[in-house]
């Protein structure tokens, strides 16, 4: 077929995860996106036990994938591994935007436990917050040591890739949503993205096109596998395989199938870490609502390799005050060129790779699942909480403490609690009816 519109091939987004390497390349055709090539290769089992070898082994996989799949060019956009990215939140007095970078750089010297002259420091303006009567600016500082970045570049260079850009995971994740915001009325929406990975999870909250909140949580798929392993007395690999099988089988419609003892045992085993994750996410949502004014989040998108677990969705739905849905990052992208095995399900594990692949484009694309705004939805404020922190000058925010403080000091939404409690009770009641293997 003769194509009349000009096509633009974007660089390859490379997501080096803890269990697999995913690469995706997009092509912009007119006003829409098409996947040119995509590949996913699991990391060897021995690397999962030695995460420090992850990048080195991943570079070999990247080289293989570049050779074996129809990627065009070798330009890649990669994300810095989470372990080398240092993140801090700063609260600064109101000041002109022109002065902000200098102040941020100055404050960064005291915030990070290393010499910032030997590191790259970037900041994200999270937004305005009210501390008592004072309005301050919250800034998210992200830093990576030059040595760590150089080591990553060296590995990617050995993989035969030409690095077009290096990003951080929260920005890439949020970009997978932000690039599909086109209407001005959607620019006020609050988007909550929770990436549940193998080793850890992260919560990214943003309003419209800007990120306001980032929080890594050290709970991931590995913790779920570990719980199952300990509960059933099987190895981690067996536990992982068992969980994968149950996830792929999906939530059975037949109540008798739900009473399958193995399924129930896995459910019970993973319940604790999943509830812990839900609690952490809930605290993040509360913190966001307490700290930032404006619209409240209306839904939570779950992405990452573990996001397709129906049990996790159920538990999070019960633990959180806003509905949880599995993100479909590639829903608005033509994926016909992807392998059928990669196109199964919601494809939520491609969110990070998609966000990275979209780094070099500034255009915005129409979402296929976009819908008309509900004016009544603007009035809904499930977390109407007030902050009570006051200070002067720059203040480093310990996010964990701040979130806990927000929970203790500001939570007054009884109706919200009631709603969450009802959901938790429903889930707990459901669990109580099933036999457990404690």
């Amino acid at each position: 077929m003769i194509r009349l519109t000009r096509a633009q091939i974007l660089p390859i987004g490379v997501d080096v995860g803890h269990d697999s390497v995913k690469m995706i390349q997009l092509e912009v055709i007119g006003d829409s996106l098409t996947v040119t090539a995509a590949a996913k290769m699991p990391l060897p089992a021995e690397v999962k036990d030695q995460p420090e070898l992850r990048i080195a082994v991943a570079s070999d996989l990247i080289r293989q994938m570049l050779r074996q799949h129809p990627f065009r060019g070798r330009k890649v956009v990669a994300a810095l591994p989470r372990e080398i990215v240092h993140m801090k939140n700063l609260r600064l007095p109101q000041m002109p935007m022109t002065e902000l970078p200098a102040v941020v750089q100055f404050e960064a010297r005291n915030v990070f436990p290393f010499d910032t002259e030997q590191a790259k420091v970037h900041s994200l303006l999270a937004g305005e917050i009210r501390q008592g009567t004072e309005v301050r600016q919250e800034v998210i500082l992200l830093a990576a040591k030059n040595d760590d970045v150089s080591a990553l570049i060296e590995h990617l260079h050995h993989a035969g890739a030409i690095i077009e850009s290096l990003d951080v995971e929260p920005c890439a994740l949020y970009r997978s949503v932000e690039r599909f915001i086109r209407r001005r009325e959607d620019e006020g929406d609050v988007n909550v993205i929770v990436d549940v990975g193998v080793r850890r999870s992260q919560v990214v909250i943003g309003r419209g096109r800007e990120i306001s909140f980032i929080k890594p949580i050290d709970i991931g798929g590995w913790h779920f596998h570990d719980s199952v392993s300990k509960k059933l007395g099987i190895t981690l690999e067996e536990a992982e395989a068992l969980r994968r099988r149950l996830i792929e089988a999906g939530e059975p419609a037949d109540p008798a199938a739900r009473r399958d003892p193995v399924r129930q045992a896995v459910f019970d085993a993973t319940r604790v870490p999943m509830e812990e994750l839900g609690r952490e996410i809930s605290l993040c949502l509360r913190y966001y609502s307490v700290t930032f004014r404006g619209q409240r989040p209306t839904r939570l998108r779950l992405v990452g390799g573990e996001a397709s677990d129906p049990q996790l969705q159920t538990l999070l739905n019960s633990a959180l005050v806003i509905p949880v849905e599995v993100g479909r990052p590639l829903y608005s992208v033509n994926t016909s060129k992807m392998k059928p095995t990669d196109r199964r399900g919601a494809m939520c594990e491609w969110a990070l790779a998609l966000g990275l692949a979209l780094k070099t484009t500034t255009s915005h694309y129409g979402p296929r699942d976009g819908k008309a705004r509900d004016p009544a939805g603007f009035d809904k404020d499930p977390l109407n909480l007030n902050p009570g922190v006051t200070s002067s000058g720059a203040e480093v925010v310990d996010m964990t403490k701040a979130i806990r403080d927000a929970e203790q000091a500001g939570v007054r939404g009884d109706s919200i609690r009631a709603g969450a409690s009802e959901r938790q009770a429903a889930v707990a009641g459901n669990a109580r009816t099933e036999p457990t293997h404690a």
Binding site: H122, V149, L166, D167, R175, E178, G206, R209, K359
Partner: protein, 201 residues
């Protein structure tokens, strides 16, 4: 959305420098190849020119030998030209015995010659202009007058025909032809004149 860039500045600079080095490398290779091709062509041209030079030298040698030959011929030509000039001035020399031998060869057997006279006639151009020139041409002719006897007019006619057929005899005429008797023998007495051009080439 604000995009953060953690790629160090040195990386794109290195990439650019590397591209530049690669480009320079290719240009150098192309230049070396171009120079090689140029030198190859130049060598070919020099070889071709040397071959042409050798050929020209051979031609010059041939020409020199031809020139030497031509010089000889020129000298000969000059000598011949001088001879021609001398002949032009003096006129051709006609040997009398050769003339007699020629007449004898064309004369009928019954005919006899009783007299033979050779007179040189020279006529100069009377105009003053021609006379003023150093190499003024003089028209020289040898007038031959012969008297003879023959039995009949037929013999005389045959003789005249033979005389006229000789290419270098001009203006062959009978001066007179009359009967003559001598001791009861009747015969025809005649006199014939003709000219031989003595002018040189």
């Amino acid at each position: 959305m604000r995009d953060l860039e953690f790629l160090p500045e040195w990386y794109p600079q290195t990439r650019r420098r590397r591209r530049l080095v690669v480009l320079q490398g290719w240009l150098t290779v192309l230049m070396v190849l171009g120079m090689g091709a140029y030198l190859f062509l130049v060598d070919g041209n020099i070889a071709s020119d040397e071959r042409s030079l050798a050929s020209l030298k051979d031609q010059i040698k041939t020409t020199d030998s031809q020139l030497a030959e031509m010089d000889k011929l020129d000298t000969l030509r000059r000598q011949l030209s001088q001879q021609t000039q001398i002949l032009t001035r003096l006129g051709f020399y006609v040997e009398a015995c050769t003339m007699v031998h020629t007449l004898d060869s064309i004369m009928p057997r019954q005919m006899s010659l009783i007299g033979l006279h050779f007179d040189n006639e020279e006529k100069a151009d009377p105009s003053a202009l021609v006379a003023a020139r150093a190499d003024a041409q003089v028209d020289r002719k040898l007038k031959v007058r012969l008297q003879g006897v023959c039995p009949t007019d037929v013999d005389l006619a045959n003789f005249m025909t033979q005389l006229s057929a000789v290419p270098f005899f001009e203006a062959v005429n009978i001066t007179y032809a009359r009967e003559k008797s001598d001791t009861n023998h009747v015969m025809r007495e005649f006199e014939v004149t003709f000219f031989i051009n003595l002018n040189g080439a």
